[in-house]
Structure formats: C-alpha cells, structure tokens
C-alpha cells in the first residue's frame, strides 16, 4: 500500500517535480508561491540538483532557457506579476522549441493586485501569453493530489512536444494541505539529441528562436501549429460531475471547481439538476464535452474567480446554442458555495 503524506499544494508541486526528474530550478520570490522555491532550495541539493535564485523573473526564465537548451529538466515558478515578466522568455522558449515547466500560482490583479488566490490569468495562459503565435500546454489542478500528478506528467509532456508546459494554480491550491500519494521517482529521462553540451560525435546543435528568413519562419510556424494540433488531439483532459441528467451546466476549473461542486451538491438537495464540466487542460480546451451536452442543457454558467475569461472558450465551444452566464468574485475574494447556489437559483428561475 502506498502511504499518504500530508502536503501543502506548493510543496507537493515541488516534490512532484523532483520525482519527475527535474534537477534545476531558477526563480525569484513572490507571494503566494514562495514555498515552491523554498522547498526546492532545501531538497534539490540532496538529489544532486541545483536551485538558483535569480536577480529577477526575467533572468530566471532565461536561466530556464539555458538549462532546457542544455537538455535538463528545468522548472520555474512564480505568481501573476512575475509570470508577466517571464513572458518574453516563454515566447523565446516556445520559438526555440525548448521544454520546461512553468508554475503560475495566480493572485488577484491587475498590477501589483493582491496576494490572495484568484484566477485572472486564464487568457494570458491559454493564448500563449507573450508575443508571437504560440501556445502553451496548460494544466489546471484542483486538488493537491492532482497538482502532484499533473506536475509529474508535465515534464514528460514538455519533452514529448518540446514545448513549455504551464501548471496553472492559484493561491488556494498552493496553501491548503491535503493527503497525497507520491509517484515513483522517474529515473529514465529521454535523450535529447538536439540539446547543446558536449558534442564529440555529432554535428553542432543550435537552439534558437531566430529565423530571419521569412519563408523559413513560416515553415517553423507551420511546424509549431501542427504540433499544437497534435496536442489538441492527444492531450485534452477534463472531468465531469453529475452531468448525466443535468439541465444546467457549470464550467469551472481549479479551486473554483471545488467550490462549484459543493454548490452543486446543495442545489441537488433542493432538486435542481445541475452538473459540472471541469477542464483540467485549459489549453487545449475540452470543447467536445460542452458540445455533447448542449441538447440537454438549458444554460451554461462559467464560474471563475475573475470577471469571466474561460467563458469565451465555453462560448466558442457551443456557439450561440445556449445562453452562457458568468459568476465569480474578484481580487482574491473567495466565493462561497452559498453564493454560487444563490446565482444558480436566480438563473434557473429566470430560465423558467
């Protein structure tokens, strides 16, 4: 029997990274994710790894680029404002086809905002984030166990597609403690023939996102686009709850989805047939489950801790077939299940 350990979300992410073979972390402090670098500063040296605190988020992401170009499993983590600073480097990494894992523990924004958990970076995460026509594979865990599992897989996915993968969490997930089962340490890392380093028996390797000839850059863009199509085909992840007979469907991800689940239980107790579709990969977005449930659904309700960003993807999935509403609290205020229940009841009443 695997034993469970009680872990904080942020520390669980850090431990899962080590177990997945990550040996290099470059970062810069920012609340509410400091337990990730702190954990790795303590534990990476014990497994022969390197933790290095950079002078800025910008520098950190370019250290990640260097480490990834050198073939290692590399991670960085930050929170909203810091992730904004990293965007230049993330774009370079996408362009240079270098794998890495980036953790964004979202907080309230814009600007310096507040340090409490929120979900205002959905657009930034799912649309690439920086300049240029690229995508990140973005995974949004809702529980500490899922944070472990997805972080562990994220390194494999990054290597498989030679693309940065983002773990999109929030201050709630990072701070709560839950029992988790940790996976086995991964000791079989893939060979990376394209990486730089000792080069005795091969031609030189160049890792670059610079393609000054337009026809060459177009070819690269098409290649990236085709890879994104593969990701869309293979890596869509989602979960659903009480959707079989649902007449109303809530769309929610991450910590918000757990609040949604509690509200759905309350609504069900009052006889309201409401269910949940929870995207686990927010890019690629699970459009199919939303499309498939349209015939039985009277309305969709996107429940997010922001003014409504994922609602766009729900609308893109179902078109104008059904109304799509939004409910959420802002700035780091945690919405309560009771509030969502009240919103559900109000919308159900209007729909009748």
């Amino acid at each position: 029997m695997t034993t469970k350990v009680l872990m904080k979300g942020s520390e669980a992410i850090a431990e899962a990274a080590i177990l997945s073979g990550c040996r290099y972390f470059f970062g810069y402090p920012i609340t509410p994710q400091n337990e990730i670098p702190e954990y790795l500063a303590k534990h990476l040296p014990k497994v022969g790894g390197t933790f290095l605190q950079a002078e800025s988020e910008i520098s950190a992401i370019y250290m990640v680029l260097g480490g990834a170009a050198a073939g290692a499993r590399v991670m960085t983590s930050s929170s909203s404002p810091g992730i904004s600073l990293k965007q230049e480097g993330i774009s370079y990494m996408a362009g240079a086809e270098t794998p890495c894992v980036i953790v964004n523990i979202m907080r309230g924004g814009p600007g310096l905002g507040a340090i409490q958990g929120a979900q205002p970076d959905y657009w930034q995460a799912t649309r690439g984030g920086g300049h240029g026509d690229y995508r990140l594979l973005v995974l949004a865990p809702a529980t500490v166990q899922e944070a472990v599992d997805l972080t562990y897989q994220a390194f494999d996915l990054a290597d498989k597609y030679r693309n940065p993968v983002m773990i999109l969490g929030d201050g709630i997930l990072a701070q709560i403690m839950e029992p988790v089962e940790l996976p086995e340490a991964n000791n079989q890392l893939p060979d990376k023939a394209w990486a730089v380093g000792k080069n005795e028996n091969r031609p030189r390797n160049i890792v670059s996102s610079s393609y000054p000839k337009v026809d060459e850059l177009e070819k690269v863009s098409i290649r990236l686009h085709e890879r994104y199509a593969q990701i869309k085909k293979n890596e869509v992840r989602w979960d659903s709850y009480l959707t079989d007979d649902a007449e109303y469907v809530i769309a929610s991800y991450g910590s918000a989805a757990r609040i949604a689940k509690a509200a759905i239980k309350m609504a069900r107790a009052e006889g309201i047939k409401v269910g949940l579709i929870r995207p686990i990969s927010v890019w690629p977005f699970p459009t199919e489950p939303f499309q498939n449930i349209v015939p039985q659904t009277k309305f969709f309700l996107s429940f997010e801790m922001c003014t409504g960003q994922m609602i766009d993807d729900v609308r893109l999935a179902i078109g104008n077939e059904r109304p799509v509403y939004h409910y959420g609290r802002l700035g780091g205020v945690i919405p309560l299940p009771e509030e969502l229940l009240a919103k559900i009841k109000e919308l159900v009443k209007e729909a009748k």
Binding site: I61, I206, S208
Partner: protein
C-alpha cells in the same frame, strides 16, 4: 613548406554579413582560433545575444544557444549549471550588455558564474541602425541623439567593465581594442586567458573589445579606427582592469 596558418575548423566557411570595416569578423575569428588551439570545440557552447552579432551561430562551428536582448548571461548560467564541464561564453555588444542586459551581466559577475564574456563595444547600436547606446560618447551623434549626445538629457557613458571588475565574483577583466596586428594579438591573448581561467574553474571573466562601426559612425574603415583610438579609447582606456592575481 610548413603550413603556418589555416582557416579554423571552429568557423564555418561562409561569407559573413558584417559591414566592410566592422571588426566583428576579426573577433569571431579570434574566438574560434583560441577554441581550436585549446582543443575544446567539442565542449564549447556559445551564447548569442541580440545585435549585429546575433547570427554568430551561422559562423561558429560549435553549439550555440541564441538568447534574447541582454539575457545571454542568464542563458549562459543555465547552460553552465547543467554542463559545468563545458566552456560557455557569451558574445554581446554594448547595446545588449550595457543597457537592457545590465542586471543580467552584473549578477552573473556577482555570482561568480564560471563563464566568459566577450563584450564588443563600439559605442552605438549597430543592427537597429545607429541609435544612441549607454556607451555613446558625449556630443557623439547617433540617430536618436541627432544633435550629439547631451549629458544633460541622457547622462554619461557607462563603464561596464570597471563596474564588473568591482564584483568579487569577477576574476579577470581586461579591455582591448582591434586596430592593428599588435592589438589583435593582444585581444587574442586576453580571450585565451579568459577561457583558460574558466576551464580552470576560477570564475567570471570579461574581455571588453573596443570596436568600430564605420557604417553608423558614417566613416571610412581606416578613419573609424583612428576615431576609435582618438575618442572611444580616451573614455575607455585599454589595459588590464582586474587580474586573476588580485583574486583571493
């Protein structure tokens, strides 16, 4: 008859894109020759920056990672931490290193990052078309200082290598120039010393090389060399700034 010189295997035999009279080509060759002579090409990783030299990976015949404007020292850090056995150097211009990349270069020196920095200083932004750099001399004309650099408006030229030499993590800092066979040979020696110190695991080192930009200075190549020695060099004196022996 003995062969006394040949084209280094560490350079790709293609025409370079640099302007006539530009010294990047000479500096590329010096770097390549040192690597060949030290027989370390198999474990060398160059880090390209942004500027005229951003396509140096078209010419260097060894592994190169292209970084963003100013970020080469951070990228070099990542590579070196993963492959401490490799020779890792950045190749940066003054726009890249002395402006947008100030934080990255200073902190690489502060950490004593075991990398070598080839810093080519011609006091102007070359690739973007001759804009004012932090290294541009007072009263010197550039496209964004069309009346000459006003110190009242933009301050004074930055002395990066002196600043880097102040950091305890920096083991060797020297400024050279490319103007004659003698100064080219001196520059090569400085590059070799920097690489040798890195291989010996000593720490951060920087070789600043005063260079010319005939195109953006609006001069003939020979005239630009003269101008460099009479103007740039008076502000940025060549010579040893910090020697390894000073390091405890």
């Amino acid at each position: 008859m003995d062969k006394v010189s040949s084209f280094p295997k560490t350079l790709v035999d293609v025409p370079m894109h640099y302007c006539p009279g530009c010294t990047h080509g000479i500096i590329h060759r010096l770097v390549a020759e040192v690597i060949e002579e030290m027989e370390i090409a198999f474990k060398t990783v160059g880090i390209a920056s942004v500027g005229c030299s951003c396509f140096c990976y078209d010419y260097f015949n060894f592994d190169v990672v292209a970084s963003a404007h100013g970020r080469a020292p951070a990228t070099a850090t990542g590579v070196k931490r993963v492959h401490p056995e490799c020779l890792v150097f950045t190749y940066q211009g003054d726009g890249d290193l002395a402006a947008i990349g100030t934080a990255e270069i200073i902190h690489a020196a502060v950490r004593g990052e075991k990398i070598s920095v080839i810093f080519v200083n011609n006091g102007i932004y070359g690739m973007t078309g001759g804009q004012m750099a932090p290294t541009t001399l007072p009263e010197m004309k550039a496209t964004t200082s069309p009346y000459g650099r006003s110190t009242a408006l933009t301050g004074y030229p930055i002395k990066m290598t002196e600043m880097l030499a102040l950091q305890d993590g920096c083991v060797y800092a020297e400024r050279t120039k490319i103007s004659s066979v003698a100064t080219i040979n001196k520059t090569k020696k400085a590059i070799r010393k920097s690489f040798e110190l890195q291989i010996a695991g000593k720490g951060f080192s920087v070789v600043e090389i005063l260079s010319t930009c005939p195109t953006n200075w609006g001069m003939e190549p020979l005239e630009s060399i003269k101008w460099m020695e009479e103007n740039l060099e008076t502000y940025y004196p060549v010579g040893l700034i910090k020697d390894e022996k000073e390091v405890k």
